[in-house]
């Protein structure tokens, strides 16, 4: 029991802890065991399914917007796990048992599960239907997501009947996200912004809308790792590092857009002067006299201001790059 297993120099797992871990693992294995069948008693009281499945539904629900589901992955008979796969529950796989719905009329017509904000079906019930199949997508942490907490329905974003689900397309996804995220829609029009407006990026290029373990539901483990996935040239490590750049790109940049070049949070040279105070030019009080037409147009104010000389603001790999000028 006192034996210790060494995994390199960083991880030690005692026998006691191992025993506990195995116990938990045993429980977890049981979660993955095949689901038991519905008990006979439950079946007796279970709501009735329709007699002929989709053929029953399509007698009334033949609108083109609904029938377009047959152009989607949900309605592929060749996929045994899809709702329209052979032997599956077709429309009722998602909308629930429709037996009563099909046999009642008028005001007394029994409801089925419907989707979307105006459907009348509670969001939790809607989402449970979707998650029954899709929660297993292992990139997702839906239950811990801000969207779940805000009572967002899957159908608020996804159009499962449409031939093209806009939210899954890079060029059109933001149209859906901006419906609620009005601030980000405004940000996308800022003069310096990632190309969402141009349809070359999607919100999901950085964010995992179905939940992740990071703050702001990022796809990668940290802000910097998210940025590096497209900007690997900033990853370094450099001989001379710029400390804030190693820690958090968002200390200087606003990734949702800015009115300042390079999506900086503040204009240079003032942004740099919020950290640098060395006597000499880092601490000089630059003013409008330094612009064109002023008394003394200045290299430290115009064009790239500080970066006119300190060009390697993300770090320098030059032996003589101490001042980030090389």
């Amino acid at each position: 029991m006192t034996n210790t297993i060494h995994f390199g120099r960083r991880l030690r797992l005692s026998g006691r802890a191992l025993g506990t871990a195995l116990a938990v693992a045993a429980g977890l294995v049981l979660i993955g065991a095949p689901r038991v069948s519905v008990a006979a008693d439950d079946q007796a009281t279970a709501p009735a399914y329709s007699k002929k499945g989709a053929d029953t539904c399509l007698k009334c629900h033949d609108d083109a917007n609904l029938v377009s589901i047959f152009k989607t992955k949900h309605a592929q008979p060749g996929n045994p796990d899809a709702p329209f796969g052979h032997g599956q529950l077709q429309c009722e796989a998602c909308h629930g048992p429709g037996g009563l719905h099909a046999t009642t009329k008028g005001k007394d017509r029994a409801p089925v599960i419907n989707f979307g904000g105006k459907s009348g079906t509670p969001v939790a019930v809607q989402n449970k239907q979707c998650l029954g199949c899709h929660e297993g997508d292992t990139k997702h942490q839906w239950a811990a997501s801000a969207h779940d907490a805000a009572n967002v329905a899957c159908a608020d974003c996804h159009s499962s009947h449409a031939a093209v689900d806009k939210v899954r397309k890079v060029g059109s996804q933001q149209e859906i996200c901006f419906t609620c995220h009005a601030t980000q829609k405004a940000n996308a029009l800022k003069p310096y912004a990632h190309p969402l407006r141009q349809g070359e990026m999607a919100c999901s290029s950085c964010h995992e809308p179905h939940g992740s373990t990071t703050k702001a539901a990022l796809k990668a483990a940290t802000i910097n790792e998210t940025c590096y996935s497209c900007h690997p040239d900033q990853r370094g490590p450099f001989v001379w590092e710029h400390a804030p750049a190693t820690e958090n790109c968002a200390l200087c940049h606003d990734s949702h857009g800015s009115i300042h070049p390079a999506m900086l949070k503040q204009r240079g040279p003032f942004q740099c002067q919020q950290c640098h105070s060395v006597q000499g030019h880092p601490s000089v009080a630059y003013g409008p006299s330094g612009i064109v037409g002023g008394a003394a147009p200045s290299t430290a104010v115009l064009a790239g201001n500080c970066t006119n000389c300190h060009t390697q603001v993300h770090g320098s790999n030059h032996p003589s790059g101490r001042s980030l000028t090389r």
Partner: protein
């Protein structure tokens, strides 16, 4: 069992049983339990065979404007409109799907996927992105085509101490566009081995080529130049995923290799300052990032879910170091080693929890740990280094390595006090330990409370108010040359209060409205100098009205104001100066979409306007103000499509986009305007572009009506 798990005590057996009991799955009907023998789906119009749509046409862009073409690829002149999408399916589930967008432009993309539904999928993708920065810039430099990294001045160039003395400048300036292209090709494979087990592999390669604004300083002078870019990034990811009844896991191995073809850029020095005739800087080094990523989730009883993610990674780089200087006479000798041998470990562990043990109570929480540990062996330049290729600094120097460890925890509880009215309270904590920086450790605590009102389907209002306190006072050791009274804003004590409001409302069947607002105030009360205070207030709203089938009218608008105050000290004796910033940003959007008018016409119109103003006022003895930096963006898009028959549609489009901007950093700045700065002469962005288009879309195959079995 004892024989198999000798290390497990009886209490662990009980634990296992308890875990299993909690995890008992929720029972729902499955297909196997329903009699579907009569479910023939004879009315189901399953897709079989092929269908495709091709859109071809011609467009014209009225003028070349880098900012307009940025990312859009819409350079001036005519262009081909070409889009394609389609799919072919078989009854057995095999399919081929393809899509190409903007194929006639430099900014184009496409994807082709082949697979068998539910079993296998392979995708090939291509994506090109255009980055256009400036098209009005000029430079006397010429890039060597042989080496790709040497920028030379023209023969006969007269070096001078100021730009005015560069007598060859005016006659040798050449137009040079600044920008680059990215081209990315990808291959991804998904193979589902069983209902619960699948494999995946992804590969992509991105090539980036062009230039950007490069700069170089020589103590008292500086220059801008078209710095070449030529790099390739290969990204690999492969692994497997497993899905159980109430749990899932995914294990992936991720590698990204960045390969920079430009190892250092050299240039002729146009100035005579300090006599160096040339300079050379390093470029981003090749690097390799590797990560092992494990993520998992489990749904337990009591509506409880746990999520877990572990990322164990490393970053390495061993790009060859450049010599200390290109100025041979200054060389302080041999380098201590040929490369940095950079080695960083990056780890991330996170656990999330969400539980709704009772209908009215929900608890959410998370714990995270991030670790960036720079294991690079120290490199000491014992014989000093060369500053800006001109002067040898004799002091021995050892670059600092920066590591950090960040721990975060958060917990939120929510209670439904009345039907549809939920109160919540939450707290967050973070401590961040840094090495070799002013402050070893900052701790931050946040408390907030709020209200969620969900009175009915279609209405959701969330309000949250809270405070954050960051404490950085424990130990502070600023670099000896820095002002001891000056605090870096990310390592300073800070008090923040904040308020968020979010509303989503469907007041009528045909109307939806959303509102998003927030306000935050920061106070760096213990910083004598540095960033002193800041605030950010913003509100934005969308409203959409659907008065009839196929018609949507919408409007949106936003307003944001950000303010900040910073102070610093300069001179001998020291005197204090202050800068106050105020950025205001406003947007307005209006539009309508009307589809299927008379079964023939689709019409859309969209108007957007965005204005920004940036003010900076300084007080350094006397008060002064920079001119406002402004932008005024206007966009109008009109589209009309006519359906000639079931297969053919004709579309006409008009787009007008205008940007006017004023920027004191660029206004009036020509290559020789400043005596000590040889600039590229970029102007603030101003364009007014019209785009017209005519296109034809033809659908092949059309919707199938083949009935099912």
């Amino acid at each position: 069992m004892n024989g198999q798990f000798s290390g497990i005590r009886s209490r662990n057996v009980l634990l296992a049983a308890a875990v299993a009991a909690i995890l008992s799955p929720i029972q729902v009907a499955t297909a196997a339990e329903v009699d579907t023998s009569e479910w023939k789906c004879t009315q189901c119009p399953f897709q079989e065979g092929g269908e495709a749509s091709v859109r071809l046409g011609y467009g014209d862009v009225s003028e070349d404007a880098a900012k307009f073409a940025d990312y859009t690829g819409l350079d001036g002149g005519g262009y081909l409109i070409a889009d394609i999408d389609g799919q072919t399916r078989t009854e057995s589930g095999w399919y081929l799907a393809y899509e190409g967008r903007k194929l006639g432009l430099d900014s184009r993309d496409g994807v082709m996927t082949i697979g068998k539904e539910g079993v296998f999928k392979a995708s090939l993708s291509y994506d090109a992105i255009t980055k256009r920065t400036y098209d009005d810039t000029m430079s006397p430099f010429t890039l060597s085509q042989a080496t790709g990294n040497q920028l030379s001045l023209p023969t006969g160039w007269v070096r001078a101490s100021t730009t005015a003395g560069m007598t060859q400048l005016a006659s040798t300036l050449k137009p040079v566009d600044i920008g680059h292209d990215r081209e990315k090709a990808g291959l991804s494979l998904d193979w589902r081995l069983s209902k619960s087990f699948g494999l995946f592999a992804n590969f992509s390669r991105e090539d980036k080529e062009g230039n950007r604004v490069g700069t170089a300083g020589n103590f008292t002078t500086a220059l801008q130049m078209p710095e070449p870019i030529d790099s390739a990034t290969n990204t690999y990811e492969f692994g497997f995923n497993w899905t159980g009844q109430a749990a899932h896991a995914r294990l992936a191995y991720y590698v990204q290799k960045y390969d920079n073809q430009v190892n250092g850029v050299s240039w002729d020095n146009p100035f005579t300052t300090f006599s160096a005739t040339s300079g050379r800087m390093a470029t981003s080094p090749d690097n390799e990032s590797k990560q092992l990523i494990l993520s998992a989730g489990v749904r337990l009883a009591l509506d409880t879910s746990l999520g877990f993610k572990a990322v164990m990674g490393s970053v390495s780089q061993d790009a060859a170091l450049l010599p200390y200087t290109i100025t041979a006479s200054l060389s302080p000798g041999a380098l201590p080693r040929a490369s940095l041998n950079g080695d960083i470990s990056v780890n991330h562990y996170a656990l999330t929890m969400s539980s709704r043990p009772f209908d009215k109570i929900r608890v959410r929480g998370a714990m995270r740990f991030d670790d960036r540990n720079d294991d690079t062996p120290a490199i000491t330049f014992a014989n000093g280094y060369v500053e800006s290729d001109m002067g040898r600094m004799l002091a021995s120097v050892t670059p600092q390595r920066y590591s950090y460890k960040r721990r975060q925890g958060e917990l939120e509880g929510e209670y439904e006090v009345l039907d549809g009215i939920k109160l919540f309270v939450g707290m967050r904590g973070e401590d961040l330990k840094r090495s070799n920086q002013d402050v070893d450790k900052t701790t931050e605590g946040t408390g907030y409370s709020g209200l969620r009102i969900l009175p009915a389907a279609g209405v959701s209002l969330t309000m949250r108010i809270g405070e954050t306190h960051r404490d950085a006072a424990d130990a502070r050791t600023p670099e000896s040359w820095e002002n001891a009274n000056f605090w870096k804003y990310n390592q300073a004590n800070r008090d923040r209060d904040f308020l968020d409001i979010k509303l989503a409302w469907t007041p009528a069947e045909s109307v939806t409205l959303s509102l998003d607002g927030s306000a935050a105030n920061d106070a760096y009360t213990l910083s004598p100098y540095g960033l002193k205070e800041g605030s950010d207030r913003r509100v934005a709203a969308n409203v959409a009205w659907m008065p009839k089938e196929g018609l949507t009218v919408y409007a949106d608008g936003g307003y944001q104001i950000m303010q900040a105050t910073q102070t610093n000290q300069t001179g001998t004796p020291l005197s204090t100066w202050t800068a106050e910033h105020e950025d205001v940003y406003k947007t307005l959007g209006l539009g309508a979409k009307w589809t299927n008018i008379g079964d023939k016409w689709d019409v859309s119109i969209d108007y957007a306007r965005a204005e920004s103003t940036g003010e900076i006022d300084t007080v350094a003895g006397t008060a002064s103000s920079f001119p406002d930096n402004t932008t005024d963006f206007r966009s109008l898009r009109i589209g009309v499509a006519y359906r000639v028959n079931e297969a053919l549609r004709v579309g006409v489009g008009y787009r007008q986009e205008k940007l006017e901007s004023a920027d004191w950093a660029l206004q009036g700045l020509q290559p020789a305007t400043v005596a000590t700065l040889l600039a590229l002469g970029a102007d603030p962005y101003n364009y007014n572009v019209d785009v017209i288009s005519l296109s034809f879309r033809y659908d092949f195959g059309g919707p199938k009506s083949q009935k099912g079995e």
